[in-house]
């Protein structure tokens, strides 16, 4: 039984089946993007163990295809097992080894990227300076104590905690936060005059609003806008309830024991020990066309603790790599005076480079050795058989051709 399993696991048949299924998965996953959008397809087809089909959009989920993780995993296991069982590192097989190590590196590297990479976005207007970027698909509830003139004291509560609901306390907070409701995607409108029932919250903007729950966004081009209702309390005393939402760009103020705090639900921020200022954004087009010729952000990078202060030009195909992060020119404001930089931290970004070199070189070594062997064989055959038979002729040439061939042969002699 174990033997049989090992035989299957190490078989080339399994490789071929997995490769075929991968091809089908990639193909179907590409077609599905037309309807589902890239983001959902990535999660449902490639970052999953099974691709499910729900007939008629019901709750029944039938697995119809193995997902990217499963196929990648099985291929990896197949490859490793085959190497342990069958392959010996000989001079003849060095190419195969290089190819397979390169592929393993590529698969593992991509898995690491999936797990470890972090993406955020830095949006700057010309002249503006920021020392943080924001994560587009995550939010946080920030409670800001602005009493210190130099630095704000901020307690940020991640959206995952808000979504759980219930009571949240923090030593730096003088009050407890009770999350009464939280909508990952929502629509907030003004409360009509004839609305029945109590308003969603009592303080801040709360009394004038109406909240609607919305389904989560699947397209890459849009993002969810979360909204929550929170109640603040200190000991037994109830301070009231507030609506917090990413629809509000301005914070709401809470006064407690003669001290003002600001409340805001915002995209999650990642702070850094250095700051970036947009000096100038350039958007050039080819003369007489609307085809973009160049997008470039001239930024000023300042780091107080090392005294670093320099200008960098970030443009298409030329990102800034700094402190383990990479800044890419991603987008820009419609008025051409603001830029959007994509910030990526990916510790395994170099793996594809090594993998490409290994596999490329391995394929070259392997096929060159085939080619050389083939050429030697052909030459040897030609020598053994003489000039006529050595040429790979069709087996049964018509008499005329034979005549002309022997004529050729005579000439050669």
């Amino acid at each position: 039984m174990v033997d049989r399993f090992i035989n299957i696991l190490t078989s080339l048949r399994l490789t071929v089946v997995c490769l075929c299924l991968s091809l089908v998965l990639v193909f179907v996953g590409t077609l599905a993007q037309v309807d589902l959008g890239l983001y959902r397809v990535q999660n449902e087809f490639f970052r999953s163990f099974f691709v499910y089909w729900s007939p008629g959009g019901g709750s029944l989920r039938i697995p119809v295809l193995p997902g990217g993780y499963l196929l990648g995993g099985v291929l990896l296991a197949n490859l490793l097992a085959a190497h342990f069982k069958r392959f010996k590192l000989t001079k003849k097989k060095i190419g195969i080894f290089m190819i397979h190590i390169g592929i393993i590196l590529l698969i593992v590297g991509q898995l690491l990227t999936d797990l470890l990479a972090h993406e955020s976005v830095l949006h700057l207007k010309e002249g503006q300076t920021k020392s943080y970027s924001v994560t587009e698909r995550e939010s946080e509830l920030a409670v800001i104590d602005p009493s210190d003139p130099d630095t704000d004291n901020v307690v940020a509560i991640p959206d995952a905690l808000l979504a759980k609901g219930g009571l949240i306390t923090h030593p730096a907070l003088p009050f407890a936060i009770n999350v009464k409701s939280y909508f990952p995607n929502s629509f907030v409108t003004n409360r009509p005059a004839d609305a029945v029932g109590p308003p969603p919250a009592t303080k801040g903007f709360g009394p004038e609003l109406e909240i609607e729950n919305e389904p989560r966004v699947t397209s890459m081009d849009f993002r969810d806008v979360p909204t929550g209702v929170i109640e603040l309390s200190a000991g037994q005393a109830l301070l009231g309830s507030w609506v917090v939402s990413e629809y509000f760009t301005q914070p709401q103020t809470v006064t407690f024991e003669n001290k003002s705090y600001q409340l805001i639900l915002r995209p999650k921020r990642v702070y850094r020990p250095y700051s970036i200022q947009l000096v100038k954004f350039t958007h050039a087009v080819y003369k007489g066309t609307e085809t973009p010729k160049d997008f470039a952000s001239l930024i000023r990078l300042r780091r107080p603790d090392t005294g670093e202060d320099r200008e960098v030009r970030i443009y298409m195909n030329n990102p800034l790599r700094y402190a383990g992060e990479t800044y890419y020119q991603q987008s820009f404001d419609k008025d051409d005076h603001g830029t959007v930089l994509q910030v990526v931290r990916n510790p395994s970004w170099l793996t594809p480079y090594f993998s490409c070199i290994l596999v490329g070189a391995g394929l070259l070594v392997q096929f060159m050795s085939h080619l050389i062997a083939f050429a030697r064989r052909t030459a040897a055959k030609a020598k053994a058989a003489g000039p006529i038979k050595g040429r790979a002729r069709p087996a049964a040439p018509a008499p005329a051709a034979v005549a002309s061939m022997s004529a050729n042969a005579k000439r050669r002699d």
Binding site: S11, R13, T15, V16, L19, C20, L23, V26, F27, G29, T30, L31, Q33, V34, L38, V41, R86, F87, K92, K93, I96, T113, E119, Y286, K287, G288, T289, T291, P292, K293, D294, F295, M316, N317, N318, P319, T326, Y328, Q330, Q342, W349, P352, Y353, C356, V359, G360, L363, H370, L371, F374, T378, A392, P394, A395, A396, P397, A400, A401, S404, N408
Partner: protein, 677 residues
């Protein structure tokens, strides 16, 4: 005699190509000289010959305008036929081999439209073929017909211009208010916009060189320059409330009004930047320069030369015209030598048509190669081989010339990818032929070379094939590595697929697939698939690295990336199936043919993903062809899967084996799993 056959064929085609390289002397208007003059359009310096070709393609979807055809059962010029009321007017039918209608070539047409719009307005150039639109624009009974397509003249469309404009504005308004999007445009709307764009281009051409009402343009400019100071004085005095000369005022207002219309409507900035501090890209149009001359009192030399050309052309004085062109070229040769040289080179390239020329030779070589299989006459095979070498040289020359012209690696857009795939396949085919010498390499090279050049030819009908590259593509390093590697992968996968096709067709329908041929073909396929795996893998990963460099992610599962990945996966599948002994020659052939489907999907299919059933344009046409191609390949695979007893080539050996005592399994079928490694 037979011995010299290859040299005779090659000599004829080489001579023909060489003749095309020689300068040609034109007796009347030297159109070819005019076609060289540079202008700046679509962000790049290009000769008027290219402008003419690309503009006419966008308006008429053709590279020339026929002046003669059928009216009922008569043959004649359109004017005469219409005058005699011989209707309907149709272009030459394909079976009318004896008829060779006079045609305006692109540059002739451009010259006429710029300088004699009174004639050009009657040319049948505007393509409208949607019945709804024909009806709305009241075009029934007008125009000429060609295989179901209908062309109309500007004069015929004149009464309908307002309708076109109103309808276009209506759509634009709805799109500006986000009630509809460009992607949602209906067939009717798409056709409407195509027509509106054609009309805009045509009017842009008409206003590029001369004002609406002008005959002796050179003299008019002189007079204008003389009278302008008086006119300016009159304007100033009028504004100051002083007495002024009404005649001077009227004249300057009329002239400047004309020039202003020219300045707004002109398509071509024909005047190179005059001031040294300006960017070299700051070309302006003649209307602007004439308006400007009111203040400066002079016009740039370019305007004078062009005005002289207009006058000479309108008064039918070829010598004056040719002199003006020559003088202008000489003037350009000073400060604008690089622009002029670009114009000269691109014009030469346009006239020589290397890819078209190579395509015809490939076709001929293909026929010779097939002929070889019918009678195994060695001279035919060698002729085909030599011809493909010749065509390959012309093809390479075109490829390199294009690269130098653009200052880019070979592949920058879909058009050039077709050129390059053909080139790669031809090289591989020639290599195979020089190893095996059995006609397979030449037929492969010729067939793929021919088909890819046909595809390129059709892709070129979309307009400019040397357009500027978007910011993200503007990197010669990645274009030279990733794009070239992936495209080479496409080319080699197609070659393997074509070999598979030959294997199946020869095996099933002829007796020519002997055991040794079958083995040789399998070896070729295997080698080519290895080659394809190498290039498509490296190319695909390089693409990922490029993506990582330009927007921070190695792999995003977007359609084009996935397309490339599918090719890698398929080639890897073929190799592993072969190593595992799961397939032999026949299976290899079938799998290689499936590679054709996979590659054509990656090459074209992904560009068509969002395309619905109700749309027009090249991509939709291409979509139908793609589907047809896929079906043909599926049929071929089905034929290939027929059991060996239905294969003509295998039937005899099977019968022989059946009558002999049972033999042990042939070696190779039960190969050990790692045998291929």
């Amino acid at each position: 005699m037979k011995k010299y056959l290859p040299w005779i064929f090659t000599g004829i085609f080489a001579l023909e190509a060489f003749m095309a390289l020689l300068p040609r002397h034109e007796k009347t208007f030297q159109t070819r000289e005019f076609a060289v003059l540079p202008t700046l359009l679509n962000g790049r310096i290009q000769p008027l010959g290219s402008v003419a070709r690309n503009t006419l393609l966008q308006i008429r979807s053709a590279q020339s305008v026929p002046l003669e055809g059928n009216g009922g059962s008569e043959w004649g010029t359109w004017e005469q036929l219409r005058k005699d009321n011989r209707l309907p007017l149709t272009e030459r039918h394909w079976w009318q081999f004896a008829k060779h209608p006079k045609r305006l070539k692109a540059t002739d047409w451009l010259m006429e439209a710029m300088m004699r719009p009174d004639l050009a307005d009657d040319r049948y150039i505007f393509l409208v073929h949607l019945p709804e639109l024909l009806n709305e624009l009241k075009l029934e009974g007008k125009g000429i017909e060609n295989e179901g397509l209908r062309y109309f003249s500007f004069n015929e469309l004149r009464p309908a211009l307002d309708v076109v404009d109103t309808q276009v504005q209506r759509v634009l308004k709805s799109e500006a208010e986000n009630r509809s999007t460009v992607e949602q445009r209906t067939v009717y709307q798409k056709q409407l916009f195509k027509l509106a764009n054609a009309l805009r281009l045509y009017s842009g051409v008409r206003f590029s060189l001369r004002p609406e009402r002008s005959d002796d343009f050179a003299q008019e400019i002189d007079q204008f320059l003389k009278s302008a100071p008086a006119g300016v004085t009159a304007v100033k005095r009028q504004q100051a409330g002083q007495e002024f000369n009404q005649q001077d005022l009227d004249r300057i207002i009329e002239n400047v009004g004309q020039y202003d219309r020219m300045a707004t409507a002109a398509l071509l900035p024909l005047v190179p930047p005059a001031r040294p501090e300006e960017s070299r890209d700051n070309w302006t149009n003649i209307g602007n320069e004439l308006k400007e001359s009111v203040h400066t009192g002079e016009v740039p030399p370019a305007v004078k030369y062009y005005a002289a050309m207009v006058t000479a052309y309108r008064h039918d004085k070829p010598d004056d015209f040719n002199r003006a062109v020559a003088d202008y070229r000489q003037w350009l040769g000073g400060k604008f030598a690089p622009e002029l040289s670009k114009g000269v080179r691109e014009s030469f390239f346009n006239n020589f048509q290397p890819f078209y020329r190579a395509m015809l030779i490939y076709l001929f070589a293909f026929l010779l190669g097939c002929g070889f299989w019918f009678n195994w006459s060695e001279p035919l095979r060698r002729s085909a081989f030599c011809l493909i070498v010749l065509a390959g040289l012309i093809h390479t020359f075109g490829l390199v010339f294009r690269m130098v012209l653009e200052g880019r690696p070979p592949v920058t857009n879909l058009y050039s990818s077709a050129i390059f795939i053909g080139w790669g396949a031809v090289i591989l085919g020639l290599v195979l032929e020089s190893i095996y010498k059995d006609g397979i390499g030449v037929v492969t090279a010729a067939a793929i070379g021919f088909v890819t050049q046909i595809i390129a030819h059709n892709l070129a009908l979309g307009g400019d094939t040397m357009e500027m590259l978007q910011a993200v593509l503007d990197t010669n390093f990645w274009l030279a590595t990733h794009v070239v590697a992936v495209t080479t992968g496409y080319a080699s996968t197609f070659v393997a697929g074509f070999l598979g096709l030959l294997y199946i067709l020869r095996g099933v329908f002829t007796r020519s697939l002997s055991d040794s041929t079958s083995k040789a073909l399998a070896r070729m396929m295997y080698g080519i698939v290895c080659f394809a795996t190498l290039f498509s893998f490296v190319g695909t990963v390089l693409g990922g690295i490029w993506a990582d460099q330009s927007w921070g992610r190695f792999w995003g599962w977007d359609p084009k990336e996935n397309g490339a990945l599918i090719i890698v996966l398929w080639n890897a599948t073929i190799l592993h199936a072969r190593w595992g002994g799961m397939i032999r020659e026949r299976g290899l052939a079938c799998m290689a043919v499936f590679g054709n489907i996979v590659t054509s999907y990656s090459w074209f299919g992904v560009n068509m993903l969002g395309i619905g059933l109700h749309s027009y344009g090249f991509m939709d046409q291409a979509f139908k062809w793609l589907i047809a191609f896929v079906i043909s390949q599926v049929v071929l695979i089905a034929i290939g899967l027929l059991p060996p007893r239905y294969w003509l080539s295998f039937r005899d050996s099977l019968a022989a084996r059946a009558s002999a005592p049972p033999a042990p399994e042939p070696p190779g079928k039960a190969r050990p799993a790692s045998a291929g490694a």
